[in-house]
């Protein structure tokens, strides 16, 4: 390989996601990677670092300001172009879909930059997937807790054991073509609304 790999700056207010991308880049041999997750005085930091490639999350509301900072650096230093190649619409679309944008110093060999962007895109996507899974796991956990709560309410109000309470929940759900967790939820919710806490004694 000729010459060192480009230096990369990652601007992401989500520090976890930034470090996931950083880890990926380091794994691929990039040893000049910097993360900025604090927007304070960022323009000066960028000027001092003078990175070859800047990777930024598009939810960052400072993007207009940053873009201007890059444009200014064009005047005083090296030209900065956005993305790798304006004709590479596919990569750019994948980047925006994933929620990542990149700015690149002009004249860098294209395949080197593309590798960095591809890495950022895949890590951004992986992070979103992780977040989604975490959200679902939290939802599942919450669902189990609610079914548990509903079961205890039935046990108390009907004077039945746990197994019978669960069967009652399940048959109600089956008869009404609903999920058990939905039935449990409405049971708990109505108990809350009625202020009975432990369910009605009917």
């Amino acid at each position: 390989m000729s010459g060192p790999l480009p230096s990369v700056l990652i601007i992401d207010e989500n520090a976890t996601r930034a470090s996931i991308i950083e880890a990926g880049l380091k794994l691929a041999g990039h040893n000049r990677v910097t993360i900025i997750d604090d927007m304070n005085g960022i323009a000066a930091k960028i000027a001092a670092l003078a990175p070859d490639v800047i990777v930024i999350d598009i939810e960052n509301s400072n993007r207009d300001m940053l873009e201007n900072a890059f444009q200014l650096s064009r005047a005083v230093k090296r030209p900065i172009a956005m993305f790798v190649d304006r004709s590479d619409n596919e990569t750019m679309q994948a980047a925006i879909d994933a929620g990542v944008s990149a700015y690149v110093v002009d004249g860098l060999r294209q395949e080197r930059v593309k590798n960095i962007l591809d890495m950022a895109i895949s890590r951004f996507n992986a992070f979103s997937r992780l977040e989604r899974e975490l959200e679902e796991a939290r939802g599942a956990l919450q669902g189990r807790k609610i079914v548990e709560q509903a079961k205890h309410m039935i046990m108390k109000s009907r004077g039945v054991d746990e197994d019978a309470a669960y069967k009652l929940l399940r048959s109600t759900a089956m008869n009404q073509n609903r999920k058990i967790v939905e039935v449990a939820e409405s049971l708990v919710m109505s108990a809350d609304l009625l202020g009975a806490g432990g369910g009605n004694d009917d």
Binding site: I58, D64, M65, N89, S101
Partner: protein, 402 residues
């Protein structure tokens, strides 16, 4: 029903777009508008370019910048309609306002006087404290930036050598002003009123006093999407035109305020939004011929004049954003599409300008002009320094700019 996804920024001048959905004008034309709030113009531009949005509430220079190759995506954009005229102001810190007032008297409707006072302050700072004033705008390719620069230059203040212009997100501007990080800014509403209501700044002058009856935001869309969806674009322009009429009706000000104030739109209290709509933001001053601070409809406020795109281009050249040549001028000329606007609205029998271009600064007061149907009033459309912009004399105009 055709579903359209529209990107908007939480600004008062998104009024026409929001009203089109909320008051049912879009639905009447068979369009379901899905409104998506954006947080940066860079995102708006990129997401419109790749098709996340069908249409966008856009800075008027945005389609120009895209077509001139200044943006990441090689996607051509067009603006078949403006989303009102006016609506910006230049706010300065209390201390700068005080310094300006001590030099000369001015009112917000007199941009020349306000600029003259600012020049005296800048000169004094140059010789005394050696301090450079900092002004903020929202994006380099914005009317805010170009008008601020035009106003400064016209008042004898060099926009690069004498002051520094920085870019900041609007929601940070009032705080930056209060903290002394910036001394002023040019931004759309409600961000001027917010500084005034927090007691951290005062309005020095307004867009309508710098360039009367001029566009701020436009409706932007991809050129090839518009070509493939001609009927949809026609319906959309009609819906937005009707919405602009509704927005301009004084009887609807309070209702419009409450729509804009909603958490999913501007997420501000209604009394912050109201001054721009009632005109009380002018603090008692009146603009030439009684022009509104923000005009959603009257004086052909939604007509996409090619001459206005070309004036913006002349300022892009002046700022060094693009080089002037005849092919770039043609690209800009073709970016605004009055032909689409006219074709959509003429069948409704509404008054539409018969020309695509005009001499900017040619009308010193509101004037009735020849139109396709009923009578239409235009102007005043002058610049604060009395300069006239004739798009046919572009080369001379650019050469005369410093």
């Amino acid at each position: 029903m055709i579903e359209l996804t529209a990107g908007f920024m939480p600004l008062t001048d998104s009024a026409i777009l929001l009203a089109a959905k909320e008051k049912g004008f879009a639905e009447e034309e068979g369009i379901t508008l899905e409104l998506v709030r954006e947080n940066s113009w860079a995102n708006m531009r990129d997401r419109l370019a790749i098709g996340h949005f069908d249409i966008a509430h856009a800075l008027a220079p945005m389609p120009l910048a895209a077509n001139l190759g200044l943006t990441p995506f090689d996607t051509k954009l067009i603006a078949p309609m403006a989303l009102g005229s006016g609506g910006n102001a230049i706010t300065v810190s209390n201390s700068l306002y005080e310094a300006m007032s001590s030099k000369a008297q001015f009112s917000v409707s007199d941009a020349a006087a306000a600029g003259g006072a600012l020049r005296l302050v800048v000169e004094q700072l140059k010789h005394g404290a050696k301090k450079t004033l900092h002004f903020a705008v929202v994006h380099p390719h914005s009317v805010h930036n170009y008008e601020l620069r035009y106003w400064l230059a016209g008042c004898g203040i060099h926009p690069d050598a004498d002051i520094e212009i920085v870019v900041l997100p609007p929601q940070l501007m009032a705080d930056a002003l209060a903290a002394g990080q910036i001394d002023g800014y040019c931004v759309g509403e409600p961000w001027n009123t917010i500084a005034v209501s927090r007691g951290v700044g005062k309005i020095a002058t307004v867009k309508a006093a710098i360039w009367a009856s001029s566009p701020e935001k436009v409706l932007a869309m991809r050129a090839n999407w518009a070509a493939e969806n001609e009927q949809t674009v026609t319906c959309l322009v009609r819906a937005l035109y009707k919405a602009s009429l509704w927005c301009a009706d004084k009887a609807n000000v309070s209702a419009l305020c409450h729509i804009l104030a909603k958490p999913e739109y501007l997420n501000q209290s209604a009394d912050i939004i109201e001054p721009a709509l009632t005109g009380s933001i002018l603090n008692g001053a009146s603009l030439n011929s009684g022009l509104a601070f923000f005009e959603p409809h009257a004086q052909a406020a939604t007509f996409p004049w090619r001459s206005q795109a070309l004036w913006i281009y002349s300022q892009m050249v002046r700022a060094g954003h693009v080089a002037h040549d005849s092919s770039n001028k043609q690209i800009v000329h073709d970016s605004f599409r009055p032909d689409i606007y006219r074709a959509a609205l003429t069948p409704l029998g509404v008054a539409v300008p018969a020309a695509n271009s005009k001499v900017e600064g040619g009308l010193l007061e509101t004037t009735a002009v020849g139109v396709s149907a009923q009578s239409l009033f235009l102007g005043p459309d002058g610049f604060f320094d009395g300069t006239v912009f004739d798009p046919d004399k572009m080369d001379d105009y650019i050469a005369a700019q410093k």
